[in-house]
């Protein structure tokens, strides 16, 4: 469908990903008690294969942004494109990872990973599903029920599910905020490893400044309601990254820069 698109990039001969562009996107929710301005006019360009983090305070419209890009909700003004296609209805070419793993209790792990294939009517992806589970160190649990897995393992299954159909965009909406700190570090390492090997365009929404920097090539700093981009920072570290880079001066200086933005708008007082 978009195979001939110029904006597609092939990395490592594996993933096929598309660029994402938002032009002057604005979202206003009308309500009986007045309008809620969720997202101010906002423009974002994500080249194919890039990993971008959006970091911002609670209620800055990050989840609204997710709904807009996935085509679950229409912007009040502006235009969103995945590849060269304007988003008008749900875009099945996006893999979404939510804050909760949302695994279906009644399906075994493998069945959960294969869910998007079933819904899109694709067959022959069982091998790919098992490979992904193997890559995420949960291969031995393919035939277990989700309740038999720990929280970190469940979220890894959720990421495998999102990646199954080789989506153009991997969208992660605060995916690790329910996990403990150690598991979260493991997931960060895993995510940037997978992002590299799959070559998928990635948009990670997070509250954690450290996570935002560690997992991305670029960090977008978002202000509170209405959501707007305050800064766009390049992250220069080579991949694959090790957790130790978080203690380097370069890393901490990026963190400071982001924190200063939040202090300026009053989100952080320090």
């Amino acid at each position: 469908m978009i195979a001939a698109d110029q904006s597609l990039a092939r990395s490592n001969g594996r993933g096929v990903s598309a660029s994402i562009s938002l032009k002057n996107v604005e979202k206003v929710y009308g309500g009986p008690s007045g309008d809620l301005h969720a997202i101010a006019p906002l423009s974002i360009e994500l080249p194919a294969g890039e990993a971008v983090s959006i970091v911002g305070p609670s209620g800055c419209g990050k989840s609204t942004l997710m709904r807009l890009i996935a085509g679950l909700d229409a912007p009040t003004r502006g235009e969103i494109r995945v590849g060269h296609q304007v988003v008008a209805k749900p875009v099945p070419d996006i893999g979404i990872v939510f804050q909760r793993d949302l695994l279906l209790d009644w399906r075994k792990v493998l069945g959960n990973v294969l869910l998007p294939a079933e819904i899109k009517g694709l067959s022959g992806l069982e091998g790919r599903a098992r490979e992904l589970l193997q890559e995420f160190d949960v291969g031995a649990f393919a035939d277990s029920y989700p309740w038999q897995l720990s929280g970190g393992m469940r979220q890894r299954v959720a990421i495998a599910r999102a990646l199954l159909t080789r989506p153009a965009l991997l969208f992660l909406d605060e995916p690790f905020s329910a996990l403990d700190a150690l598991t979260r570090d493991q997931m960060n390492v895993l995510l940037q490893r997978v992002q590299t090997s799959e070559g998928v365009t990635t948009l990670l929404i997070t509250h954690s400044i450290t996570e935002a920097i560690f997992c991305a090539d670029r960090v977008l700093v978002m202000s509170g309601r209405p959501g707007a981009i305050m800064d766009d920072i390049r992250v220069p570290f080579e991949r694959p990254r090790r957790l130790a880079i978080r203690e380097t001066a370069e890393f901490t200086s990026i963190g400071r820069r982001i924190r200063e933005h939040f202090e300026k708008v009053g989100v952080l007082v320090g």
Binding site: A70, F98, L115, D137, Q186
Partner: protein
């Protein structure tokens, strides 16, 4: 510190939980002991009192006499039970089909909910024994009347539980599959229906136990066959031991039916929290 270090968690949990079955089995045995003992005492008292006071058999037969009657007339009792079961089964299937469809319609449409639900509640509130003669007028004498009687007895728990179940689906899971491009039918099949299944099973279990009761009452009024008719006739003939035998057979059948329903539920819901202990027991050894 590789990611793999978290892997054994589930296996460890499984091993830890595998210890429970042994104590669980002894608990079960101890739990069975007391009701069996009290039951035996009760029966012995009954038997003794009937013999000591020479109670006429048409008023109250002794337990031993009931057992003798069951043994002597087992074929007659079972054949009548089969007739009752057939009517109950047919009615139950109708009630489940109707209940699922009505439940789905009520969940899908606010209008249907508003227009239908109050009438269903009223229909359920009407004392069924009172309208039994009307069923006779509407559906005639025999199986048909009986079947609709079973439906009247069982549709309500199925509908109520179907509605509750369908409404309990996780909105975020629905959002997720919609983002994958799911059609409304797919949302129903992949998310809403499986989420509703535990509730639906609970409703069907209730209906399964109510169905034979409905069938028997239907037979009281509108049939010349089945356990209900047998009961009426036995009482009319002053054959009280036969009536007691029928009630006993019916009760045992009810318990078996309940166990069957529970077995079916386990087969349908192996993933459900209520089944996890059994699952671990199976996997642990």
């Amino acid at each position: 510190m590789s990611v793999g270090t978290t892997q054994p968690i589930a296996t460890v949990e499984r091993a830890a939980n595998a210890k429970t079955p042994a104590s669980g089995a002894s608990n079960l045995a101890a739990g069975m002991l007391w009701p069996l003992l009290s039951g035996a005492i009760g029966l012995a008292l009954w038997e003794g009192l009937v013999r000591v006071f020479k109670v006429p058999v048409f008023i109250l037969p002794a337990p031993s006499q009931v057992i003798v009657t069951i043994v002597e007339q087992w074929w007659y009792l079972l054949s009548q039970l089969a007739i009752t079961t057939f009517a109950a089964g047919l009615g139950l299937v109708m009630a489940i089909v109707f209940g699922l469809a009505a439940g789905a319609a009520i969940t899908a449409s606010r209008l249907v909910d508003r227009m239908l639900t109050p009438w269903l509640v009223i229909a359920h509130a009407v004392p069924k024994v009172v309208i039994a003669p009307l069923f006779l007028v509407w559906f005639g004498f025999g199986l048909q009347s009986e079947m609709f009687f079973v439906v009247a007895f069982t549709f309500f728990p199925v509908i109520v539980n179907t509605v509750t179940g369908l409404k309990s689906a996780d909105p975020e899971q629905i959002l997720m599959v919609r983002a994958m491009g799911a059609t409304p039918i797919q949302v129903l099949r992949k998310i809403q229906f499986p989420s509703a299944l535990p509730s639906i099973c609970a409703g069907i279990k209730l209906a399964v136990t109510l169905a034979p009761v409905g069938a028997v009452i239907g037979e009281f009024v509108a049939s010349n066959k089945g356990l209900g008719h047998l009961l009426i006739r036995a009482v009319g003939d002053m054959d009280t031991p036969l009536a007691f035998a029928a009630v006993t057979v019916f009760s045992i059948f009810g318990v078996l039916l309940w166990r069957l329903a529970e077995w079916g539920e386990r087969r349908v819901l192996p993933w459900h929290p209520s089944q996890r202990e059994a699952f671990l027991r199976g996997a642990g050894t």
